[in-house]
């Protein structure tokens, strides 16, 4: 296809990243692999010895694994819906962000389900979820939702890659890639030659996909919350859990996109593509989502506290008590609500670095928040625990769970590192007119 001067210039910027594997990235990948290997060893122990090696016991039957599961799936949903909205509303500054948002969605969606598998006692029977599925179970909803969503997310990202694959294919001279890479791009480019009809077909597909992606993400992240919402447990059995999770998912996803933007801008020197303006706009999105998230949080806990039903109170007492989860609850709310809003409230603070810092604290705070949703409720059964074994009363994650958690994060980073070697981190084909 025809490649503009502008696009060739961009490709030249990215060619080194696509072509060579620097020592620095070698060390980085090696480090990630090491973390993953430790995780694999932990997994081996868990398989051989059983779930006894985790901190989970009969009261707290879900722990870090479920926390990470919600965290990553939430990020994925956030990336997907943001990409869908940016495209559908033709947001003018979307060009360098679309690809990052899409990749975030796909990569996180690959990590999240790993954690649900780790949490399952018999993953040798995982296929029962399909052959013996009971439609009434929220877990079945989730299995269907996540697999359907994953196919959609891959398709969605691919639709925005086809033109780029065609450009890579036709820029042999600029990129100078090995033959197998050329072959791969040729295959993935689907004979795209940017004819009027091809362009129309692709544009229609993109619009259609973005259109279905948005309601789908709302449904699937609600389904995620319903694993908790459908039970009769204090702190979970809440009607706002659906929208609360939808918002939290988009919020944390947006935060991770900012972190990815900042990281690539730093490493690849993409100041010309990911400008201060992009960070500011993303910051405004964070501000809006953060306010909404703060509103939901306030509404959820105010209702529980004011009504002060017995079991609601027991969970809330633990969340408010500094000797239990009080400090973490405070930290989570300051990081996720106060700091992002403060940073965006003052013009002077709206710098890429500070916005990224706020996003980082927010993403961490959101992880803590998921922990505070899962664990304190499970530590508060309706009947008194009356057990003398400390591990049955209080959950504390073991090194096995932490090792697998870090392995999950390392896998996320590894996938992102590798995928950035395969495709440009900005959508080259969108830069066909003069670079703004």
């Amino acid at each position: 296809m025809e490649i503009s001067k502008n696009q060739t210039a961009i490709l030249q910027d990215f060619a080194p990243h696509l072509r060579k594997f620097s020592t620095r990235s070698g060390i980085w990948v090696g480090f990630l692999l090491a973390v993953i290997v430790v995780g694999m060893y932990a997994l081996y122990l868990q398989i051989v010895k059983g779930h006894i090696v985790t901190g989970m016991r009969d009261n707290v039957v879900w722990g870090l694994y479920i926390v990470n599961f919600i965290f990553f799936i939430g990020i994925s949903y956030g990336g997907a819906i943001l990409a869908g909205l940016l495209h559908l509303f033709k947001v003018p500054w979307r060009r360098p962000i679309m690809r990052i948002a899409g990749l975030t969605a796909v990569v996180s969606a690959m990590i999240g389900p790993i954690f649900i598998i780790l949490c399952i006692g018999r993953f040798d029977r995982l296929h029962y979820l399909f052959i013996h599925a009971r439609l009434q179970s929220p877990i079945v909803w989730d299995v269907v939702a996540i697999s359907t969503y994953f196919v959609g997310a891959v398709l969605f990202v691919y639709l925005f890659l086809i033109k780029d694959f065609a450009i890579y294919r036709d820029s042999e001279a600029v990129l100078g890639l090995p033959a197998w890479r050329q072959k791969l791009y040729r295959f993935l480019a689907l004979n795209y030659k940017d004819t009027a009809s091809q362009r129309r077909q692709l544009a229609m597909s993109r619009n259609l996909m973005a259109l279905i992606m948005i309601p789908m993400v709302v449904v699937v992240s609600s389904v995620l919350s319903w694993i908790f919402g459908m039970t009769l447990r204090p702190g979970w059995h809440s009607t706002i859990f659906g929208p609360y999770f939808v918002l939290a998912a988009i919020y944390s996803g947006t935060g991770v996109i900012v972190l990815v933007m900042w990281t690539f801008r730093k490493i690849y020197h993409l100041q010309d593509y990911l400008t201060d303006k992009h960070f500011k706009y993303m910051g405004f999105i964070l501000l809006a989502l953060g306010s909404g998230y703060g509103y939901f949080t306030f509404s959820e806990y105010l209702t529980g506290w004011f009504g002060s039903e017995r079991w609601d109170s027991e969970v809330l007492d633990k969340l408010f008590d500094p000797s239990e989860y009080g400090w973490w609850f405070l930290v989570s709310n300051i990081f996720t609500i106060v700091i992002p809003i403060l940073v965006m409230a003052f013009k002077k603070l709206r710098t890429p670095n500070l916005i990224t810092l706020a996003a980082m604290l927010m993403v961490f705070g959101m992880w803590v928040k998921r922990y505070l949703i899962v664990v304190p409720t499970l530590e508060t059964p309706l009947l008194p625990v009356q057990d003398t074994r400390p591990e049955y009363i209080h959950y504390s994650a073991t090194w096995v769970e932490w090792a697998l958690t870090f392995a999950g994060f390392a896998t996320f980073l590894l996938f992102f590192t590798l995928v950035a070697k395969l495709v440009t981190i900005v959508t080259v084909s969108d830069y066909n007119e003069e670079h703004q």
Binding site: R134, L135, Q136, L190, K193, T195, S197, I212
Partner: protein, 295 residues
Amino acid sequence: MALSKIIKLSWLLLLLGALGLLPNTLIAQDEEGEEEVEQVRSRASLSCVQKNDGVLDLKALIRAKIDDRYTGLPGLEVEFFTTTDTSETSLGKATTDEKGIATFTTNAKEMPRDTGNRMAFYASFEGNEEYSGSDADITLKPASFALEALEEDSSYSIQLTLMSGDEPVAEEDVSLFVKRLFFPLKVGEGSTDEDGMATIDFPTDLPGDAEGNLNIFARLEDSDDYGTVEASVTKAWGIPVSDRLEDQPRALWSPNPPLWMLLTFLVLMVTVWGHYIVIVYKLFQVKKEGQPSGG
């Protein structure tokens, strides 16, 4: 290794033991200087249930004090005898069940009586290495119930007559039971008059089987003269309760999902996957159009 030998040996013993090929004594002989388990004293008691048509159930309970509690001893052989002043006739043998009760069934009509129309029985457990022997006896007069089921308007009652031979048995407390899954339910009681008769009201609100049948029996419990006397009758006096296995309804807790849920699921799936199919189709079109031969 010693341990592996023990494992092999014990497997063998287990196998033989399970097949019943290895007598107890053989294993006992194998003991080399192991201390003997002390013989425990057993205790026997004998009771008797008289049923319709002279059927007699002799029940011998063999117990021993184990860990300070009297426990029935299962698997022991008990011999039953009928005795008179001059003779002792063996009736047969029975083995105790898991509660330690050996039941032997015979018929009162064939039993010898003394001058007072009394029968005498005797049960004996010989003893084995573990338990000492024990025995017990019982003397009783034959007795039987005649049951008549009375239905008046909407109320039910059972009229029972307790007779010992031709003699009515007066002033005995009798009870009415209904057979239930685990233990019988007592539904009424009364006392026999000088004619040996008692009329006991029967409840009208008891659930029965699928046809409403109830197995009703009258019982004189453990009397000094007659032992336990029982007689039963089956009447359709109960409220019928279906014993059909119902199909699981469409519910959240059943294997069958509610219809609206199935419908919602299908609509969502068709919508989303429909979009995917359309898009994949379009991508094939893109690919086809770009084929070198075609373009």
